[in-house]
Symmetry: C2
Subunit: 201 residues, 2 copies
């Protein structure tokens, strides 16, 4: 029987990434986005960690819809910024979701930081919450470094200024399949597949 | 004999604070600002800590002028930002020294952070470097919290949004003497007095 699962995100890029990774897993899921629920109250992401925020979002969405809900929280942790922007990645420049402003602010802040100290990692926590109260969180990490200026048109967020360890191109210069195989979100969602499989069976 | 000492800062507010604290110590110092050395090369503050940056500045200024040099490095460490802006406090919004932009960016970044999690501390490292190669660093810390909106016209930097533990007014609402007695810079410079006294005797 097909299980309807709601993805708790307004970010179409994220939803696409999740669909891309979950669809081939053969779990017989119908993944629906947040658009099906126009009356949804806004959830402030106020937890202190990616895992806490992912759980908050999944729990709220499950409670509101009565459906199993998947949510993620992710961000770029820059060592020279003590791990920030981190959970504030999407609103680093003050507003919410202005990728270009966030990215340019980050570059300006670390413009004096030497190349060897520009290490960073993308983190992603993916959570599932079921109507019966069962919850689980998994995490994925992609390590790399922040470069000096943006390159590439794929991806979103800080992708144009991030080069993963072992690569020379940015994650915005990678194709979807290549990125999914190594990305923080790809790894987190992949780790969620067996959890989903077990919880929904 | 009066000893000429150079204060390695372009920030007039900082120089004023240092003079205010050092002058009454009766050390027979002639404190000269950076303006006396118009040919001074720009020093990039690139160390990983306040102490490293203060030492870098004092050392460079001493080497350039041949005089004993005092420098400080200071900033606001916000717990919800993993201790940032920290050493990047003066250039948090990207440029350098735009107090208003830095402060407004910080407020926007932590606008979703609950009152009890808005704890922060001002840190200051003060360094002295002598022509004979002797160097020393001391530090001062003022703990408190970041409020929601600016109050007060005194001070500079993040003073209008910082309330020290035990106080209700911001450090921008305190008078100079009151602030010097508890501030990170006041404490660091005060700790430097006996060091100066010994090194210069």
């Amino acid at each position: 029987m097909t299980t309807k699962v709601v993805i708790a995100s307004r970010n179409e890029h994220k939803i696409d990434e999740m669909r891309r990774i979950l669809d081939p897993a053969g779990l017989d899921l119908e993944l629906v986005g947040i658009k099906e629920f126009p009356d949804l109250p806004d959830v402030d992401e106020i937890g202190p960690t990616f895992a806490a925020n992912a759980l908050l979002k999944a729990r709220d969405m499950c409670a509101f819809t009565g459906l199993p809900a998947i949510a993620d929280d992710s961000g770029l942790c820059v060592d020279a910024l003590n791990g920030m922007p981190g959970i504030l990645s999407a609103r680093w420049a003050g507003g919410h979701g202005d990728d270009r402003a966030n990215l340019e602010l980050l570059l300006a802040q670390i413009s004096h930081v030497a190349t060897e100290r520009r290490t960073a990692a993308f983190h992603c926590a993916a959570a599932i919450a079921l109507p019966n109260g069962v919850e689980q969180v998994v995490e994925g990490i992609m390590t790399g470094r922040v470069i000096d200026s943006p390159r590439g048109d794929n991806g979103f967020g800080y992708d144009p200024i991030f080069v993963a360890d072992g690569y020379e191109i940015t994650t915005a210069e990678m194709d979807s399949a290549g990125k999914d195989a190594i990305s923080h979100r790809g790894l987190a969602i992949a780790a969620l597949v067996p959890v989903l499989s077990q919880l929904l069976s």
